[in-house]
Symmetry: C2
Subunit: 229 residues, 2 copies
C-alpha cells in the first residue's frame, strides 16, 4: 500500500486480533499504515462513509454486477474524487476463502484481474499490490522514480569527427576498406554505428584509448599514427 | 509467473542450492515452473540465447542506460518476438542486494516501477508479479477471466410496463403523487429509476413481490389492488 501512496487500511474482525504480532516486523517500515489502521466489526460498518465500493474476487458470484479491472477502478476512483470528493473503498477477502457473498453484495462492481485462465492463484498481498500499482500509475503518470543517467552534454562534434578520422586512418593503414569502390559505403556504415551510440565525451576518450591500445600492441609497442588530438 | 503465462525461469547460482526445500509447497501448484527451471553459474551464461535484456532495479546505477517501465518492457518484448522471434529476458536481483552492477551492465535498459518516492520497498516477488501482470495484460487484452453475469434476456417490455402501472396504482392510492400538477414528472422520475436498473424478468418479479408484501401488510392482510398479471 505504502509503495503506491495508499494509507487508509480498514480491517474487519481480523482472525488473530489487532495489533497482530509480527505485523510491524513484516511491514518493511510501512508502520504508519499499521498504526492508522481502523478496526470494524462488520464489512458494513467499514464502508459506511464510502460512496463507491469495489469487491475484488476471482470467482463469478452470480450477483449480476459489472466486472471491471484495476485500471478502470483506478480511473473511476480518481474521477469520483475529483468530481465531488466521493471516497472509494476496495474490499479484499481473507486468504483462501476470499470475500463472502454478503460482502460482495455490498459492492457496486466486481474488481477482477486479468490472469491466465489455466492457472489463477493470486493471493491477498498480490491483489492489494496490483490495485495499488494501477492507482499509483495514474497518480504519478507512470514514471519510474529514477531518471535515466543522461549523457552529460554531447561533446563538440569536432571531437567525434576527430575520433572517426582517427579510427578510419588506422583502418586504412591495415587495408580494411577493401575493395576501394566499397570504401565510401563502408565508412558510412561505420560512422552510423558510432552515431547510434550517441557518444559522450567520455565515451569518445574510452574508445579512442581502446583503439590506440590495439594499434600500439599490434605494432609491437610503437605509437599509433596520430597520437595527438 | 504462472498467473501471467510466464514459464521460463532461470536461476543463477541460488544461495540455498536447487531444488530448494519448501519451494514446491510454496508454489501454490505452479510446480511446472520449478520443474522446468534452469540453473546457471553466471548471469552471462543465463542470457546467452536472448536478444534483449532488461534489468529491474530501483536504484540509479550511473550506467547511462535508458529507463523503461513494465508496460514499455511488455510492449517491446511482444514487438521483438513478433518481428523476428527475438527472445527477451528480465533480470531480477536477489532480495535485499538486488542486481550487481555487473549484472545491470549486461542489460540493454533498466526496468523500473512507478512507486511512491517517499516509500519504495518492492521485494523480488512483487517485482516479478508486476512484470508478469503487465505482460499478461497485453497478451490477454486486459480482460478479467470472469465475465459479468448478464441479465439473461431482457424481459418483454410489457412486463416492465405492467410493473410500473402496478407500482403507480398503489402509490396513487396513498396519494404519493402530490400535488397533482407535479404527478407527471414524479412518475417520469420514478420510471427512470426503474429503467436505470435494467431489470431482468426475475428482478421484476422480486420487486413486485416486495411491493405487494408492503401493500398487503399495510392493509392488514388484504390483497393488493391488482394481484394478477
Amino acid at each position: 500500500m505504502m509503495n503506491f501512496g495508499l494509507v487508509d487500511m480498514r480491517l474487519v474482525s481480523p482472525r488473530d486480533g489487532w495489533p497482530k504480532k509480527g505485523a510491524r516486523q513484516a511491514a518493511s517500515g510501512a508502520v504508519a499504515i499499521l498504526d492508522q489502521a481502523r478496526l470494524f466489526d462488520s464489512t458494513e460498518d467499514a464502508v459506511r462513509d464510502l460512496g463507491r465500493i469495489y469487491a475484488t474476487t476471482a470467482r463469478e458470484r452470480g450477483q449480476a454486477k459489472p466486472v471491471i479491472n484495476a485500471e478502470e477502478a483506478a480511473d473511476a476512483t480518481r474521477a469520483l474524487w475529483a468530481e465531488g470528493g466521493t471516497r472509494t473503498g476496495i474490499l479484499f477477502g481473507p486468504e483462501r476463502m476470499g470475500l463472502s457473498n454478503d460482502d460482495v453484495a455490498l459492492a457496486d462492481a466486481i474488481l477482477s484481474f486479468p490472469v491466465n485462465p489455466a492457472f489463477s492463484s493470486l493471493n491477498l498481498a498480490q491483489a492489494v499490490l496490483l490495485v495499488g500499482y494501477e492507482w499509483w500509475k495514474r497518480e504519478s503518470g507512470g514514471a519510474a522514480p529514477i531518471a535515466p543517467t543522461r549523457n552529460p552534454t554531447p561533446p563538440p562534434r569536432e571531437h567525434v569527427l576527430a575520433f572517426f578520422d582517427f579510427v578510419e586512418r588506422e583502418l586504412d593503414a591495415v587495408e580494411f576498406f577493401y575493395p576501394p569502390e566499397k570504401a565510401p559505403i563502408m565508412r558510412r556504415n561505420l560512422r552510423n554505428i558510432w552515431h547510434r551510440l550517441a557518444l559522450s565525451g567520455q565515451d569518445v576518450q574510452t574508445l579512442r584509448g581502446a583503439f590506440t591500445a590495439l594499434v600500439t600492441g599490434r605494432r609491437g609497442g610503437r605509437a599509433p599514427r596520430n597520437p595527438a588530438d
